[in-house]
Symmetry: C2
Subunit: 464 residues, 2 copies
């Protein structure tokens, strides 16, 4: 494992009264053992298929790479159609491992097609996409585990129609490949009928835990990312997350510290990477943490309404936005800082610059500055008695990103086990889906439409 986890500043010894006593960790040995067993003993079983995703063999990786290369060589643009768990993996890895202005690079500098991950049904965004792609040389990966996601199907219908008009029906089929559950759902059936290439999502792998399955790997292959190293990193993290001693197990320890903090009223979890490339890694975390732990009932059916609300923050940018609140506001949050030891570039603030300004900065690098600011925020939070911990990545590369993604999955699974909830379901989104079907006029939802229409608004509570 290349990542380092420093949770000193979660502890009473660093931050005082709002911190955690070591005795609170030590006396919960049974809880640790139970959480550990629930996750580790069930590896690969039920909804824990995700633990096995990094275990694919060399031949499968080779196949993915060959496929990715074939697309990369002929595509001017590559578009993922997906939402939620089908989008966040591709987005965060694209952002972390490709050039920060990838799509704006000229073709010589760009080593992969332009990449778009379309995870909304905003009509302006769809229209905007058509303005910047040449559809004749654009390839589409339609990703939905269930094969039934309305947003993704809408996008697919629009783009497939446009493709057929642009290149003809036969060629259009070559521009689309789908990632879905084999043998199930509307997308699988349509793909079979139309003759699209199909990649399967393995059983027991939920959307938000699917980044290291074909859901992520197919786009990563097209992006030209070193999948083998990423899976190597994920496996290394799996090994670390299977360590029995909580003091050696980063996911088990930090899950417990978060759960203890939640019980102590810290209902907010801030994810604050100090690197623009990791900005959307916070989005990945926000989904897995929110949707897994935000649950009305526990496994015994008892109403618990638990969950910790994740909030994204970006260092150093949000020091000028959020840190005032973090240091002086309520003691209601845990801040996770992600630091990077060595950046992919080094930029020096010129020592020879003649402008008579900022002399104390001259000769330093931006790398020094961003690192000093990160450590300063850690220092200021700690001095103010605020819970924070730091994950350090030596560099941001496929291997360490693989580690980080796997860590997020294990941490979430352990936290759900500590909370005794179903980490892997999402019953709370059904009501909204039904209401959408009703409003869009889908057959079978007439009763729901009546319920929707019966909601009365008091004009007194509307200001215009």
């Amino acid at each position: 494992m290349k990542l380092k986890f420093d949770y000193n500043n979660m502890m009473e010894s660093s931050i005082g009264t709002h911190g955690i006593k070591q005795s609170a960790i030590d006396k919960a040995a049974k809880a640790h053992e139970a959480a550990y067993k629930e996750v580790v003993d069930n590896s690969g079983k039920g909804w824990q298929g995700w633990t096995e995703t990094p275990m694919i063999d060399k031949a499968t990786v080779d196949e993915l790479n060959a496929f990715g290369k074939s697309i990369r060589e002929k595509a001017s643009s590559f578009v993922v159609l997906g939402i939620g768990g089908s989008a966040l993996g591709p987005i965060c890895v694209f952002n972390a491992l490709l050039h920060l202005h990838h799509n704006e690079l000229n073709e010589k500098m760009r080593k992969a097609p332009k990449i778009y991950v379309e995870d909304n049904v905003d009509p302006e965004r769809m229209a905007a996409l058509f303005d910047v792609i040449d559809i004749k040389t654009t390839y589409f990966n339609v990703i939905t585990k269930s094969g039934e996601t309305s947003e993704t199907l809408s996008q697919f219908l629009i783009l497939y129609n446009a493709l057929k008009k642009a290149v003809g029906e036969k060629a259009a089929k070559e521009h689309i490949f789908v990632t879905t559950t084999i043998g199930k759902g509307a997308l699988y059936a349509a793909a079979e009928k139309e003759g699209f290439k199909i990649f399967g999502v393995p059983a027991g792998v939920g959307g938000r835990f699917s980044v290291l399955s074909n859901v992520g790997l197919v786009p990563f292959a097209v992006m030209g990312i070193d999948i083998e190293s990423m899976l190597y990193g994920a496996r290394a993290m799996r090994t670390a997350c299977e360590r029995k001693d909580i003091y050696s197990n980063p996911a088990l320890m930090t899950a417990y510290l978060q759960v203890l903090s939640m019980k102590d009223g810290k209902n907010i979890s801030v994810m604050m990477p100090y690197a623009d490339g990791l900005k959307t890694m916070a989005d990945f975390y926000c989904q897995i943490w929110a949707e897994s732990l935000g649950k009305a009932v526990d496994k015994a059916g008892k109403t618990v309404n638990c969950g910790q609300t994740p909030a994204k923050s970006l260092g150093v940018t949000d020091q000028h936005s959020q840190v005032q609140l973090y240091t002086e506001g309520p003691y209601d949050k845990v801040v996770t800082i992600i630091g990077v030891d060595t950046f992919g570039d080094s930029v020096t603030i010129p020592a020879d610059e003649t402008a008579d300004i900022g002399d104390f900065l001259k000769g330093h690098t931006m790398n020094e500055l961003i690192t000093a600011e990160r450590k300063s925020t850690e220092f200021a939070l700690t001095k103010a008695g605020r819970s924070n911990f730091t994950i350090t990545m030596p560099t941001v590369d496929a291997e360490t990103v693989g580690e980080l993604l796997m860590y997020f999955m294990y941490q979430t699974a352990f936290a759900g086990a500590y909370l005794n909830i179903d980490t892997f379901n999402q019953p709370g989104v059904e009501e909204g889906k039904k209401a959408t079907f009703a409003m869009i006029g889908r057959a079978g939802y007439e009763q729901k439409l009546k319920e929707l229409e019966s909601a009365v608004k008091d004009e007194k509570y509307i200001i215009s």
Copy 2:
């Protein structure tokens, strides 16, 4: 005022026990009057210079437009160097009012230079910028109210140096214009000495309240945005926010509802626009709300540690990420939904598409779908007893964006007045700044460096 504010779902009558009783609003008449007076009676005074920012005369607007046009005509790229309040206004307006893939459009379609707002000191991001701009035809707006912001000065030193090397010292000066406080700070002095064009930030306008001053207007002029309409919208909102009756005053009412909710344990404020173009509007809100209300002490010096943590969410995307938590998790948040009635484009899901999938979607528009999903989320939150209110924009244009920005400022000012705190300061960021100066070796911070170095880490609390 074109915006509409519907707070039915904040009230007990809609959401039940977790809602607000109308009597709680009515019995606080004195608090409303006091908050109203503190903000409205002090318009333009002290740190409330921001209330006057939309009042500039036609001639000033004309000058800005002419300047913007002159840059627009010769610039291939336009780069804002700024952070926090100096960046978020330009970012959110750029995102809301220009093409969603503006920088990727070809020159014919693009009506303004490529736009970059550099609000971090990540070396990879700075290096990436150099890869996509042609510095010889790039113009830079350096924005810092204090003229002392380390991050912005660092960027300036790097880019000015590079500019001089690329176009020579004399021409380089023409590529830079600064926005700062006239007569104060290092940047003003340097600009005078170097001969850069200078735009002033008026007195009494703090960074996070400066979007409608030159801090925002100069970049907006370069972007070709209709400044006059934006200021017109802001003035219309000001008029609405000066209405005495709380039931007619959107900012006063929603500030009070948020403050009541905070006191009831709802320490999280989710901002959830249903439009990709408004995604970064949530960032603007997050800054003004967090930094203004997150305060350790009230005006009487009493320790209060107040503040509500803002969280960004994007509809419909984050329905697949956050809504599970919002409907089933703790009753600890207020969700503000921003809806758009009419989008700038309309995209139809083709009724004639032959693929045998998603038949219930065919013939509908994406516009219908995103609107149905927004209303469904509102419905699901309400049914689950969750506090939410909706701001509706008839369209997203310069006028309505001006309204929205002004509303955020008034709402924040009223909330601060209700909380009896200093809305306009940010003492909590000083500790981090000092620590950074110490680490970077700035003279005068030797003692702070010793303090930093004295922090001891317990190896037991580090996992690697």
